[in-house]
Symmetry: D2
């Protein structure tokens, strides 16, 4: 992995996350990663999504990749670890690893590429220096 710090968030599986296969619905794993990033933005990087929005910035997903290893079920707690992989002029790639708290085994892994945009126009923006610094921990 990269030289950037790795942060961790715990999320308990909710019954409404379970689908007809009796495990967490595939697309919900992305929501767990999203929840972990929001938590970590304010708690670990000191730059909450609310602060970005106040400055007229937002982050949107440009691309994503995920590999599923084994499912989470009702009663499980997910540990979501994320880590900045690469910072470019207008985008950040974030790697993630989801594991199950009870046995520490890998549930899924992958990455998300976020583009910084103007919150009103939706157009890509150059990431300001102070944001690059905040994420370079």
């Amino acid at each position: 992995m990269s030289n950037f710090s790795q942060f961790e968030t715990k999320i308990g599986v909710r019954p409404d996350d379970i689908d007809m296969n009796q495990h967490v619905h595939n697309s919900k794993y992305f929501d767990y990663v999203l929840a972990a990033r929001y938590d970590q933005m304010s708690r670990c990087y000191g730059m909450s999504m609310e602060k970005f929005l106040e400055r007229g910035f937002s982050w949107v997903v440009r691309s994503s990749y995920m590999e599923h290893k084994r499912p989470l079920r009702l009663g499980d707690t997910a540990i979501i670890q994320t880590q900045v992989d690469e910072i470019q002029a207008r985008s950040v790639r974030v790697a993630f690893l989801i594991s199950k708290e009870s046995d520490n085994r890998t549930v899924a892994k992958g990455w998300l590429e976020y583009v910084m945009v103007d919150a009103n126009s939706g157009r890509p923006k150059t990431i300001p220096d102070d944001v690059v610094s905040a994420y370079s921990v």
Copy 2:
């Protein structure tokens, strides 16, 4: 039921609506009614949610009641009938009936009470006369 017109919207069940019990998740039936109302606001009342928002108004749910008769499953199509029940100074009560297209049997029924609010402040507003007229069909 009331003297107001009854309108109808069809919604196909999606796999992500199904929960661990192999039928449409309870809370999703409210989302089907919401989708039906949005469709009917623009198609049947000539006042889409977008038009309300442009005028600085929005609708929020104050209370809701639902009785479940039998579930919808994968492959089913829902028919959602709604009808204004009562129009008050600041709120509208809408009755709904969800049935299954294939056998016409009742799936769920109930009502939702919507309050008109200022879209920015969230405070209740008196419903303008032209809106009362539009809904009194």
Copy 3:
């Protein structure tokens, strides 16, 4: 309220719970209550949903009522209090109160009526005595 015990579960708002109105989507409050009940079934009543399923029983929602007082937003934590209201031969009525952790104010309140069913046939069943006892705390 009733003489039955009141139990409490905390749930952090996730970004995927937020809708176009910038607050927790209406139908998601039912999912919070569902998550609280699952937690409390195993933690407070000593009868997890899994145990019911092993015995061939399940619970389905027959009816529900909710009043919304004020919304939850991103970053909020919900406190969900539930309490058995009434136990009948084949159903249990559970009252709930959702409040916001930060200021203790009421977000929503209401009740859910659950029917005990045979997990395979879906037909209503008389609630066994030991289940009535477990819930009569």
Copy 4:
């Protein structure tokens, strides 16, 4: 793209698909593709998910990739085109393209890799010849 047939499914955006950014929530695009595949399995390949389950088989997602080009909003209808990309002994890769009905522009594209599993044990299975044939259209 591959030599396999391309099939198409239309899905109307529902209000509960919209997130705080006023467009369809990122992870919901995977649910649209899932819904399109279920529709096409029964309508275009003559092998519904129900038939697979009856034979003791199921499909699970092993990996997925998506690029987002522009968002869908309230009132939009999505066109989801899918096409088998590659059939291996135990997995199938399906490419997808999501576009907006109103202007035909690309919303997102990517692929999903599905593994055939034993519906009970969850273990990978060799895809039976008749299934390979059904998908080789």
